[in-house]
Amino acid sequence: MLNKPIYFDHAATTPLDKKVLEKMLPYFTENFGNANSQHVFGRNAVKGVDEARDSIAKIIGAKPGEIYFTSGGTEADNWALRGVAHAFKDKGRKIIISPIEHAAMISTAKALEKEGFIIEYMKVDGEGFVDLDHLKSIVDDDTILVACMMANNEVGTIEPIKEIAKIAHEKGALAFSDAVQAAGVLKIDVKDLGVDLMSMSSHKIYGPKGVGLLYIKTGVRIESIITGGHQERTKRGGTTNVPGVIGFAEAFRIADENLEENAKYVSSLRDRFIKRVLAEVPFVKLNGPVDGAKRLPANADFSFKYIEGESILFSLDLAGIAVSSGSACSSGSLEPSHVLLALGLPDELAHGSIRFSFGKHNTVEEVDYCVEEIKTAVDRLRKMSPLFKAEGEINYV
């Protein structure tokens, strides 16, 4: 028997690992101290936070002093972008970002544009990969920051961050990468990648929500955006979310220890799913990389021609399957996904996309059930679609 609802939306968030919860619980009660306090309660909290910082630093090849805890990926993205822009505004005005960044980046870049910074966008190809030659041609002496996500949350493209950082550095610009989807999923060594800043978030890897980090390489100048007390070496004010930080570190430790095994398992689900959908559902396009090695192991993203994403999402929801739609119809603005448009998809296909993201608790049976339900839902919605008759009916079996 299948346990329903089935959760295929791990790129949105993940359930908290029970081991993580256990590790966090004492820090809500006995060890509730403020990490800023000097008495024993404070010292106990500090001890936990220090251990967490050391553990994460070790996993990503950083020094503990280079890890700054934040309220999540969004804050870390904001901080990297605003903080570097403001610290370097006398050096230059230009910031280069990929066009497929998360809203946390795109919205922040747009806000900086209003302040007078110049935002330029990298080019990406049809699978979402950054065009390195084009990037080389736009990085100049006025460029203060080059920012590209390590892996895309919607279509799963894994970007060549090492090369991108190198291109930035050749012109004296800093390199930032949003690794929210990559941390705990792909092996990350910040020194090897050569990035100056990197953001991560806890809730994508079975950790608690509302905690993340910004890696800031020693010596990199950055202004604070959350000003307050002396927390995080006076760079980020606010009482430390002690249980959150402890949970983040534990989740990261578990993810790192099982990294290869997990990737192997979820990518086997992904590959089976992609293969079946492509073979059994007509008029469907796989978005993002075809080569599974260059795609997040848990990600599959499809556009179903002639129908709109949200209606697919709710059809699957009714069948007990939780997925997400790239079509922003479902998020209220009527723009199709900016990621899919950047990949060159026509509006109609960009409106019809659904992201499936698998997790360690999913099973082959769930994947197979989902394929059958997709067939039913897509068929039903196509029968309702005025576009389908116009283009597809003749070939459709």
Partner: protein
């Protein structure tokens, strides 16, 4: 985000399809916005005896298409023109604010289909 009534109608919509040789047909919206709605009508003596829809759009667009076509069946064209999106949305027990434009589409598609009918009448 949707209430149960909307989900129920989305799950089991009425009047899906297209009337052959319709007396009036109207298509509104476009793929760029993510919504296209087509309503076809069979009209006898200015009374709508049948209505069908085809919709490319979100769950709200499909639910309002279904409810709007239900509501205009059996009505005269003048009565049908008085059925605004607001009335359709009320019948569905409300829609999220950002989804109200989807219901406007249904109203517009009905108007267009009736206009089409009227212009055909004139031509005949």
């Amino acid at each position: 985000m949707y209430n149960e009534k909307v989900m129920e109608v989305f799950k089991n919509p009425k009047n899906v399809g297209e009337i052959e040789n319709p007396d009036g047909i109207g298509t509104v919206g476009n793929a760029a916005c993510g919504d296209i709605m087509q309503i076809s009508l069979k009209i006898e003596n200015d009374v709508i005896v049948d209505a069908k829809f085809k919709t490319f759009g979100c769950a709200a667009a499909i639910a309002t298409s279904s409810t709007a076509t239900e509501m205009i069946k059996g009505k005269t064209i003048d009565e049908a023109l008085k059925i605004t999106n607001k009335i359709v949305v009320e019948k569905l027990g409300g829609l999220p604010a950002q989804k109200l434009h989807c219901s406007v589409l249904a109203e517009e598609a009905i108007q267009k289909a009736i206009e089409d009918y009227k212009s055909k009448q004139k031509g005949a």
